[in-house]
């Protein structure tokens, strides 16, 4: 239930502006891959192209290939809605549906897929909340609105919502940047656990976080403001943080950037 992502020669444009240039990489199944780099280097934009969420932004378009186990996500006849059911996403700010209960939030994706059987829904909701390390905290108030939880709990609720539909890949766009350190730790523990079942890709500004949770790290950078972001280097996290090949990577991770 986890798939390999192979990206080759990917360019992303916003209208005429080239935001990301010529990215090629392989993301291994059942691993955590972290994207690091300075603000504006296109790592979030690039992450969104992995489940075609960039298409929500008017004028955004892509050149190149994204293969999910031999299947091109950008081939004609591929429905972005179907892609997003296979490649789930967790956002920077926790975004549970405010009018839905905790239960309905987790069940929402299943209901989209047409699951109506109450027993099946109850099972999956429990399994997903357990999978997101949230079950013990919310099991007595599943009918309460999800917006009443704390920020960290809300984010884990969003992760439960994402894994309830059993995707192949989970993309996380700075999932801890709006959270306090304790909640962050809870999410990091969870990421560690998620990689047993899913391919996880995480964008983070926090380099300790990348070092703690990821197996592979990709460093993005841009030559100057207004220039497109590029993938500088990618490799095992240990190597990137101890002995990077590129000087720019070393400057960035040691804080001598700019």
């Amino acid at each position: 239930m986890a798939k390999r992502i192979e990206v080759s020669g990917l360019n992303v444009y916003y209208g005429d502006f080239k935001a990301v240039e010529d990215v090629s990489m392989t993301i291994e199944p059942r691993s955590v891959t972290a994207f690091i780099g300075p603000s504006g280097c296109g790592k979030s934009t690039y992450l969104r192209t992995l489940n075609r969420m960039h298409e929500v932004i008017p004028g955004a378009r892509v050149e190149g290939k994204v293969m999910l186990d031999q299947q091109d996500l950008y081939a004609s006849g591929i429905d972005p809605v179907a892609v997003r059911r296979v490649v789930g996403m967790v956002f920077q700010r926790p975004n549970p549906f405010p009018t839905m209960s905790i239960f309905d939030n987790v069940a929402s994706g299943l209901k989209l897929n047409g699951v109506k059987d109450k027993k099946k829904l109850t099972e999956v909701v429990e399994a997903s909340l357990k999978g997101a390390n949230l079950w013990n905290e919310v099991k007595d108030r599943l009918e309460k609105p999800g917006s009443g939880l704390s920020g960290g709990q809300q984010q884990r609720l969003c992760i439960a919502r994402a894994i309830a539909v059993e995707p192949e890949v989970i993309l996380m766009d700075e999932p801890c940047s709006a959270l306090d350190p304790i909640s962050t730790l809870a999410i990091e523990d969870l990421i560690e656990k998620l990689k047993d079942k899913f391919t996880v890709v995480i964008v983070t500004h926090n380099m300790q976080q990348a070092a703690r949770v990821s197996d592979q790290t990709a460093f993005f950078n841009l030559a100057a403001t207004g220039k497109p972001g590029r993938l500088i280097e990618m490799g095992p996290t240990k190597q990137i943080f101890s002995n990077p090949n590129e000087k720019a990577t070393e400057d960035y991770i040691t804080g001598r950037f700019g």
Partner: protein, 354 residues
Amino acid sequence: MSSTDGTAPPDRPTDRSTGPKLDLGPVGHLGDRLFAGLARGSGGLVVAIVAFVGIFLLALAIPALADNNSSFLFSRIWEPGGETPRFGIAALFYTTLVSSIIAMVIAVPIAVGVALFTTYYSPKRLAAPVSHAIDLLAAVPSIIYGLWAIIFFAPILRPVIDGLSSALGWLPLFEKPATDNLGVVFTASVVLAIMILPVVTAISREIFAQTPITHREGALALGATRWEMIRMAVLPYGRSGVVSASMLGLGRALGETVAVLIILSVPNGNDPWDSSIFAGGETFASKIANNAAEFDSPEKTGAYIAAGLVLFVVTFLVNSAARLIVARSGPGNRRPRRNRRAGTNPAQTEGAAT
């Protein structure tokens, strides 16, 4: 000694100051004072006007009500003036409410559809013209709507009325009356629907467009289609806004006068009052406007004023309800009380989050 409010100039230089003395004297608060006076005056004036309208209505209505020989609220007879004045508002109340509610039932789904179309479906270059066209409907004077409806639109609606009454005629509301006339309540309702469409559309559009991108992306990232995204994120967020927009539309429909006056045929001996929406009738506003020429005695005038008072109260209640709904549930946080309670639940284990 120097004044304590800090606006008067200091009368004692401090000898501790080292640099050149700063000018901290009065800066000139004339503008402040003028504007504060103006603002207070305007606020007071509005309250005074509302109070005077209410007092005026009450003062003229009470003597007439005291002389009334029939139940004001439950009678359908309207014979004010004369030796034994008898008048009741039941018929007016019924027609006013039914015509406005039908107008709302027609207008709200269309308004929500148009609002969703312009915010989430149409291409950008189509959204603006459509929105402007709807807004233009609000700029048409109601007399024009009335003329257009009775001359052009009512004959077109005839087949619709025939169809509805043959399908649902077993309900008193849709019963076909004995005489065929064009000026029926249903026609007035359709025209009222057109008239309240702009305001309901505009408010719905605003609220739908404000749906936070995070909610919409949350739905899309789960693999929601556009309609599913609207159902999961946009409609729940905009629900209270749409409800209050509908109430505002209802308030406008209740008080609409000229268009209704032109369209509705007044019940008479040949064509008596009928509960069907396919018969003529009179609303509060159209009744008063129709009979403005008859305000010759205080008793007669008082009867109409009393009817106007009821319209005033009903409209006031509808608008208050709309405001209450908006205040109770701002967009996006429909159940603030319960949320807060859930947030302070002792089951919460994340200490750092509190």
